[in-house]
Symmetry: C2
Subunit: 263 residues, 2 copies
């Protein structure tokens, strides 16, 4: 069955999610943004939505209201939003628990969290994006699952506690990984070497790790317990205390992880 | 002009490099391995090579001798190998300096380092592999460059000091990245969550970072200076001191890297 949708927010997640839903036969009827222009910009990409700059949805035709704003703004919107009867209200945050909506004007609350990083300028194959759902009641759960299954191949019910764990894991695997690239770039810059040289190795390392598993793919001086190379590297990193400490700590953790199983 | 080649070693790098050279019109004539069977296995994949288990190459038809063995074994091979006159001798190590070959029986020594991770079971598009060259004399440099340019689009002269820097950067961008995936997997395992859920996010994060640059791509609680989330994550990581410390240190470094430019 079809549901009409109102999108509260016009950032990167709202942008991709609204277009995906609109194209999948879940018409987005309204887009709210504090900044009316941003609402209009997203409305321009949709079939029949109206821009809105107030949170009074009492006359809305929609059944599902998706709050897709920065984490800090969720609480205030939940408090201020006026909803039609039996409305379902969800947020799309990976970090905020379900009870961030405890003071909502509806009992049909949930979470609709797409586990992906979005930019307006980058196309994402939405059907490959894992959707992590949570719902306060059976009706909400049924509706969210139905919609989610129509736009993604990877739908999972994940409660707030597990979503927090997922977020921590994502910080390690994604935020920190990106920062390691930054450190590598910085070290190379320091010596007028180009980061481009490393890119083929990075791509192959990541592909290999995801296909074969991280444990079997681990290489480098730490897993080999090549203390001569480790010492030389630490020495060369003395100019930046934090880099040296990151190097030391990650190498130590690799040694601790694999050390006992070897010899 | 063509050169005949003898490969000393039959590991992952030797395997890919020998086949690439053989196919590019640089016939591999001999393959040495301490273990004769390993030499035979590689010879089977080449057009006209002979397996060898001794290091006497005095009657070799080759002009270029490539030592592609584990770092620790290089020195001994350099000391033991018997070469024809005017032979060029190179190693393929990212970590060992040119002077690892100071006692070689030839003055034509160099480094022929393919900056990539190789497995026998994975196909690599060799023309995309950066080749880092170093040479002790002009003749060696000319020959290595000519051969390198015929098998790769990315050839750079990199001296031993810069190759060491490149290696440190690769440890951060590749070895440590792989280990962060392992940590993420481990955290998810602990809560019976599947690492597969994170894979689309990892792929997009890495692609985005390599295409748009790491600085502009940095996301997450640390760069947002979201101390509420950082504290919560640290608390959840208390069960593993090293993970907690890695989280703290990398988050701190992200804050220090981006903090001053914001507000």
């Amino acid at each position: 069955m079809s549901y009409e949708i109102s999108m509260i927010g016009s950032g990167n997640v709202a942008w991709h999610l609204a277009m995906t839903l609109d194209n999948a036969g879940y018409p987005v009827k309204e887009v709210y943004s504090r900044n009316f222009r941003n609402a209009e910009a997203l409305v321009d990409r949709l079939y029949g939505a109206e821009p809105k700059s107030d949170l009074d949805f009492s006359n809305s035709p929609s059944q599902l209201f998706i709050i897709s704003v920065s984490d800090d703004a969720i609480k205030e919107i939940v408090r201020e939003i006026i909803l039609p009867e039996e409305a379902i209200l969800v947020h799309t945050s990976g970090t905020k628990p379900l009870n961030a909506m405890e003071f909502a004007a509806t009992k049909h609350v949930g979470v609709f969290y797409p586990l992906q990083t979005f930019s307006k300028s980058r196309r994402i194959e939405f059907s490959e994006v894992p959707l992590c759902l949570e719902a306060a009641d059976g009706y909400t759960k049924r509706v969210l699952k139905e919609i989610a299954n129509n736009i993604s191949k990877h739908v999972a019910m994940i409660d707030s506690a597990n979503r927090a764990i997922l977020h921590i894991a994502a910080v390690f695997a994604c935020n920190f990984t990106n920062h390691l690239f930054k450190i590598a770039e910085d070290i190379l810059d320091e010596h007028k070497l180009k980061f481009d040289l490393l890119k083929p190795l990075i791509v192959e390392t990541v592909n290999k790790s995801l296909e074969m598993g991280a444990s079997i793919s681990q290489t480098g001086p730490a897993v080999r317990q090549d203390f001569e190379v480790l010492d030389k590297h630490m020495e060369k990193l003395e100019y930046n205390e934090e880099y040296a400490e990151i190097y030391r700590l990650l190498s130590q953790n690799i040694i601790d992880t694999y050390g006992e199983s070897e010899e």
